[in-house]
């Protein structure tokens, strides 16, 4: 029986399987279930600024429908978004406290922030509520065509700086792959004090229904083929960072977990596969990793972690090859 113990963000995990921030991690009952099935750690569902605003609008509409509640001239309703935020944040802090009282595994809180404003200060309350670490889910929408990429990258660094000033718990940053100089940005996040990076965030995407000629939502859950980009960047960055790396997106089974560990990931984050197969799926994933390690004669993960990272490769260019030059040119 191999030892799967893993250190991630300074925390000791019984194995490198982390359930990613998602609907799977928004209730105490579900998290207890994940714990029973052997997960290494959980990242709580993110609390989103956007979500609060939507909730505020919903509440306002509801108030207006109920004619007893007075909406005109009301100071309370003028600040309803603030009050909803306070309530939502309160609920989130309660979730942290309750989860911490029910499970022994590390509990990582998640905040979706797009500015350095109040969301960063909320980090302090998260720490006080007992979260073991904090994952910052940052994505600055690239729709402001007047701003240049340096300004946008700076927001990420500022957020990390601000949060690190406020809290003592470890902080990881979940990012997208959409940076002009991705590797440098990740290194700079580390320079600014991040303890880990989660690669990568998977976004809700649009699709088009050609029959109805309408914009719809693309499939919510990931597919295994989506893992390739993560695998590339984990392999490229793992030898170049001191901070931890959580691989995310498209990791659906034990085989994928092993691949990411070989590329150099500290842990792997899963969500879609558990949505599809239930929390029991974690047992299968762990069994695969265990069996594979036994088969290969590894006793613990550090014996093979990063073995196939770019830095350790005889032909490092394999992770850099982007174009299928010959392959496509030969297709007639």
């Amino acid at each position: 029986m191999a030892d799967l113990t893993t250190k991630y963000l300074g925390l000791t995990l019984r194995n490198p399987i982390v359930v990613a921030s998602s609907g799977l991690t928004d209730s105490v009952e579900d998290i207890v279930e994940l714990d029973k099935n052997g997960v290494g750690a959980v990242v709580l569902k993110s609390i989103f600024e956007e979500q609060i605003l939507l909730e505020a609008e919903h509440s306002l509409r509801k108030a207006e429908e109920d004619s007893m509640i007075y909406t005109e001239l009301s100071e309370t309703l003028d600040y309803i978004d603030e009050h909803i935020k306070e309530k939502e944040l309160g609920n989130y802090l309660d979730l942290i406290r309750e989860v911490k009282s029910k499970v022994m595994i590390p509990v990582i809180a998640s905040v979706n922030c797009i500015t350095t404003r109040e969301w960063t200060t909320f980090a302090k309350q998260i720490e006080d509520a007992g979260a073991d670490a904090l994952e910052l889910n940052v994505f600055i929408m690239p729709f402001n065509f007047d701003a240049n990429s340096i300004e946008k990258e700076q927001v990420y660094y500022d957020i990390v700086n601000k949060v690190k000033e406020l809290v003592n718990i470890p902080v990881s940053v979940k990012i997208s792959p959409y940076f002009a100089n991705l590797g440098k940005v990740i290194q700079r996040l580390e320079e600014h004090g991040a303890n880990g990076v989660v690669m990568f965030n998977r976004f809700a995407s649009p699709d088009i229904d050609t029959d109805a000629e309408k914009v719809t939502s693309a499939e919510v859950l990931s597919h295994p083929f989506e893992m390739a980009n993560t695998l590339r960047w984990v392999a490229i960055m793992s030898g170049r960072l001191k901070m931890d790396i959580a691989a995310s997106t498209g990791i659906h089974d034990g085989d994928a977990v092993v691949k990411q560990l070989l590329a150099g990931a500290t842990v792997t984050q899963m969500a879609s596969a558990i949505y599809k197969n239930g929390p029991e799926h974690i047992v299968n994933v762990l069994k695969f990793v265990n069996d594979w390690m036994d088969k290969k004669g590894y006793n613990y993960i550090d014996q093979f972690r990063g073995k196939l990272s770019q830095g350790k490769m005889e032909h490092p260019e394999v992770y850099e090859r982007m174009q299928f030059m010959r392959y496509f040119s030969e297709i007639k």
């Binding site: 605003l53 505020a56 609008e57 919903h58 509440s59 306002l60 509409r61 509801k62 108030a63 207006e64 109920d66 004619s67 007893m68 509640i69 007075y70 909406t71 005109e72 001239l73 009301s74 100071e75 309370t76 309703l77 003028d78 600040y79 309803i80 978004d81 603030e82 009050h83 935020k85 306070e86 944040l89 500015t115 350095t116 404003r117 109040e118 200060t121 302090k124 927001v155």
Partner: protein, 496 residues
């Protein structure tokens, strides 16, 4: 029912004295007159004292203003009044110089006309629906000024009528809270003959009318006169009495109370939950105003700590924010600043209050939002960080959402901060009655017609039902609930 009201109004309008009055001046003469102006105390005098800002219309101006009213066959102004005051009738009584008659018309549906004439947002209610506003696009009849005039005239005449009450029936009804909803309910219940006791948590009667609205906008004396009237009608008051703590509903029921009206208000302050909000010198507007209005914090004769800061920032844009900032100025603040995250157009405060505040030297930092407070070594607030905002897309309420401007943060020196970003319903009663149905907002769910809650003997109204209403709406609720309680007792209690 509505047809009956229309018939009733028609009948009233066709009375000889009204017909005569209409003929006495041509419509053109009426509409060509300018709306009267409310005389006001000089801003530089009033901002150093508690004198009432609006000094009231002199008789001749009240009559002139009443003459502007066209006595419309379909008085649309009444649609804008939450308690359905017979507006044309009371206005015409003023034109006819029957001022006591005008006051008595007001009192048919409004127990506190002197209060409503001062604090109702008429510009958004009756005056917004006035024929002048809607059709003529001219300044409306100054209904609020006239309401106040008639009520003040009656009070100063020494001929203030105490409403008639039915013979006492000995049935006990409890009223929780002595704000406008509670007082209105108590008055009507007393008229029906009930043995009414009002339970007030604070040491003074009047609720928000006393602790919330400052003397310069609503002198306590005016509220006291109304309370005395209720006493004369047999209403009993118990102060420092918290229903749910001092005695439970069950205790009171054992004492013989058959029904209750809950008008416990929205006294739970809200904060913004930003760093440093717990430092000394940062108050909720409720606490700030209560300390000054009820606990004499500004008076050295009293033990309540003095909180007259030099640089006072008030966060918010509602009437309570205006009351707080203008109070701060009166307590000697060199800088009294409103910090509001939207623009003036979106402010929930009455236009008149904003105007008065500006005249008194209040600074307005609109489109600014506080981010953090800082304190000296004693934990007393000494500085705050604010950020500039711009208006984004309108939200569900139609107001444009404030969006922060990155990098626009700066600091302001402050020694007192008053947070006035709204209040929540008082949670005490819902907590004391576990089976009471409440909304997500913490307001009590009631039947819209009877104001009866999910607990049959408990009726409710005012801010505890509406979240944050006006005085007149709260009073309307109190009256409706009194009728509901009367019906409930007739049907159930008497049947047993």
């Amino acid at each position: 029912m509505i047809e009956n009201i229309i018939d009733y109004l028609k009948e009233e309008r066709s009375q000889e004295w009204r017909a005569e009055l209409r003929k006495s001046l041509k419509a053109k003469e009426r509409t060509s007159r300018e709306r009267v102006k409310m005389p006001e105390e000089d801003p530089n005098i009033r901002n150093k004292s508690n004198t009432e800002v609006n000094t009231g219309l002199p008789i001749e101006n009240a009559v002139l203003e009443a003459q502007r009213c066209l006595d419309c066959p379909e008085p649309t102004c009444m649609d804008g009044c939450p308690v359905g005051i017979n507006i044309p009738k009371f206005v015409k009584k003023i034109e006819a110089k029957d001022f006591l008659g005008a006051a008595s018309v007001l009192k048919e549906t409004n127990g506190l006309p002197a209060v409503c004439g001062r604090v109702c947002p008429q510009e958004k209610q009756c005056e917004a629906s006035c024929f002048y506003t809607v059709k003529l696009k001219k300044p409306p009849i100054a209904i609020g000024y006239l309401e106040r005039f008639a009520a003040d005239y009656e009070r100063n005449s020494g001929k203030m009528a105490v409403p008639e009450v039915h013979e006492k029936n000995g049935i006990k009804v409890g009223v929780v809270g002595s704000g406008p909803a509670g007082l209105a309910a108590a008055g009507d219940l007393a008229k029906f003959g009930y043995d009414v006791t009002v339970f007030e948590a604070l040491h003074e009667i009047g609720g928000v009318l006393k602790y919330g609205i400052p003397e310069f906008r609503l002198p306590n004396e005016i509220v006291d006169v109304e309370i005395d009237n209720l006493r004369k009608m047999g209403v009993k008051f118990k102060t420092n009495f918290l229903v749910g703590k001092t005695a439970s509903f069950d205790d009171l029921k054992k004492e013989g109370y058959k029904a209750f009206f809950v008008g416990s208000g929205a006294g739970l302050p809200r904060f913004m939950n930003i760093p440093g909000e717990n430092y000394n010198g940062i108050f909720s507007s409720n606490e700030y105003l209560t300390r000054i209005n009820l606990m004499h914090a500004a008076d050295t004769e009293y033990d309540t700590p003095v909180i007259s800061g030099k640089n006072v920032a008030v966060i918010g844009g509602g009437n309570t924010a205006m009351d707080s900032v203008r109070t701060a100025k009166r307590l000697g603040a060199e800088r009294a600043i409103i910090i509001y995250r939207r623009s003036e157009k979106e402010m929930p405060a009455r236009v008149e209050e904003i105007k008065h505040a500006k005249e008194e030297g209040i600074e307005f930092m609109n489109l600014h939002n506080p981010l953090e407070y800082y304190a000296d070594e004693n934990g007393r607030v000494n500085r705050m960080k604010v950020q500039k905002m711009e208006l984004g897309e309108p939200d569900a309420s139609g107001r444009r959402r404030p969006v922060p401007i990155e990098g626009s943060e700066f600091y302001i020196d402050v020694d007192t901060v008053v947070v006035s970003v709204g209040v929540s319903p008082n949670p005490l009663i819902p907590k004391a009655l576990s089976h009471l149905k409440v909304t997500d907002w913490g307001t009590i769910v009631v039947d819209k017609e009877t104001m009866q809650s999910s607990v049959p003997e408990v009726f409710a109204g005012g801010d505890i039902v509406r979240g944050g209403a006006t005085v007149i709406l709260a009073m309307g609720d109190g009256r409706k609930a009194a009728a509901g309680i009367h019906k409930y007792i007739q049907e159930t209690v008497k049947a047993n």
